[in-house]
């Protein structure tokens, strides 16, 4: 049964930050991505690692015009699993390599300067 619950004040979750909420079996990570809030389950769809312990950052796309043929994109919204490096976009829950290998996402909202998670 989904339940809306208080996470923290918005001041405590600045852009680039993550709050791990003790909810459900594995916990849920609430992320502030450039001012917008997203939440994913703390459980990698590969082998169940605590995904939200992974580094948050960007990822690479192909760019034939660059000398290294790489372009950095989606900065601040890609979490890398600490076990096997799988990349997930926290804004969608999709694995970057294979979008069908997704992790669960949750609703987050802000009211009166406070962050709420529905999980």
């Amino acid at each position: 049964m989904l339940q809306r619950r208080f996470v923290c004040t918005l001041d405590e979750l600045p852009p680039g930050g993550m709050k791990l909420v003790d909810v459900g079996k594995f916990g849920v990570g609430v992320y502030n991505v450039r001012g917008a809030l997203y939440a994913i389950v703390n459980y990698c769809s590969h082998q169940g690692a605590p995904l939200c312990q992974g580094m948050i950052g960007g990822t690479n796309e192909s760019d034939p015009d660059e000398p290294d043929r790489l372009r950095r994109v989606r900065d601040g919204q890609i979490v890398r699993c600490p076990w096997h490096n799988w990349e997930f976009d926290v804004t969608t829950g999709q694995n970057v390599a294979d979008p069908q290998r997704r992790v669960r996402t949750y609703q987050v909202d802000v009211a009166g300067g406070e962050v709420y998670l529905t999980a």
């Binding site: 590969h46 034939p64 790489l70 096997h84 970057v96 390599a97 294979d98």
Partner: protein, 349 residues
């Protein structure tokens, strides 16, 4: 219909190649096609083919064995050259001489219209290789480009890209086959030199996977949708676990090679084929059908006899070896996959 995708025609004798070399190279010493360190204990060729000239050197005899005795409809000739010779310009001339000889001795006189050929090129001379493809690509009987398995760099490296680009532009698959002769090569196994022939013969064909892996990982197939590779020495028995490895690493390390835009194994159907080898696959026929479906091999594999090699499998023997396959799998292997890849039609004429 039966298509034999892997036949090695030979010069009658070693020095015959000089007739096809320009004056500037006529007096150079050139390794014998048989000059390599690992010879099969009982001879490299089918026993009954030994005679005054090299086995597989007389078009009429080869025709009789393949087309009359074997019931083959088309045979794709993929001649050996003479190794990765340090003088790469000489090597390119040798490739051109082999191509001219193939046209002169085999393809042009063949009124049965059953032989098809390969444009041999030297990957260590990318400019020369592209030139050779441009020179011969229009010939209706030359259906593919041929390069050696032996290479000092894997074929996914960017220096080779102009060659693959030229082949793809002309719709020619690139066949990789263990070469004859003796050149400047790495040891035949990942761990060095083998001692015995089985040590060599069991592992040398597996080098294909390094070429295949780098072609995928370097994005060669992603950049060239028309590029196709044929690995002519088999090795498809190890394809599945190796593709599992590549797929697994791609999920973890995709950001290092983002031009790989799908699972590495997903490039196989559109870009990769194998010629059958007598050595590959489960020994028990009962496991054959299921094994063939792993990694979709029934769509990747083409019958290739390796005639006149000692291990050559004529179609009836191959059919026995493939006994465990279902009808559709068997048709794919004996003709359908090759017919689609090379555009060969059912009726010869």
């Amino acid at each position: 219909m039966i298509v034999d995708t892997n036949v090695q025609p030979h010069f009658g004798y070693n020095a015959e190649i000089r007739q096809y070399l320009p004056d500037a190279h006529k007096l150079r010493s050139i390794p014998d096609v048989e000059q390599q360190w690992y010879q099969a204990p009982g001879g490299d060729y089918r026993r009954d083919l030994y005679g005054e000239h090299y086995p597989g050197s007389d078009p009429e005899t080869v025709s009789r064995h393949l087309f009359e005795d074997g019931g083959v409809d088309y045979a794709i000739l993929n001649p050996l050259t003479r190794g990765n010779i340090a003088d790469y310009l000489l090597n390119s001339r040798i490739c051109a001489a082999v191509n001219d000889w193939l046209l002169d001795r085999w393809l042009q006189p063949d009124t049965s219209n059953r032989f098809r050929g390969t444009i041999r090129v030297n990957p260590e001379d990318p400019k020369g290789a592209v030139g050779e493809i441009e020179r011969l690509a229009g010939h209706p009987k030359l259906l593919q480009v041929g390069v050696p398995m032996q290479s000092r760099e894997p074929y996914g490296k960017p220096m080779f890209e102009p060659i693959w680009e030229a082949a793809a532009a002309h719709g020619l698959p690139v066949a990789v086959h263990i070469n004859g002769g003796n050149g400047v090569d790495h040891p035949p196994t990942f761990a060095g030199h083998a001692h015995t022939y089985p040590g060599y013969a069991a592992f040398m064909p597996l080098n294909y996977f390094v070429h295949l892996a780098t072609l995928i990982v370097e994005g060669m197939f992603a950049r060239h949708p028309g590029l196709k590779f044929v690995f002519a020495d088999g090795g498809y028995d190890i394809l599945t676990p190796l593709m599992w490895r590549l797929d697994t690493f791609w999920l973890s390390m995709r950001d290092q090679t983002p031009w790989v835009d799908r699972y590495p194994s997903e490039y196989l159907p559109g870009h990769v084929r194998f010629c059958s080898s007598a050595f590959d696959g489960p020994i028990e026929a009962g496991k054959m059908r299921r094994w063939m479906d792993f990694t979709g091999k029934a769509d990747l594999l083409m019958y290739g006899s390796s005639y006149p090699h000692w291990s050559t499998s004529p179609p009836d023997v191959m059919a026995t070896e493939l006994e465990g396959l279902d009808d559709s799998q068997r048709d794919n292997v004996l003709w359908r996959n090759a017919s689609e890849l090379y555009g060969l039609k059912e009726s010869v004429g």
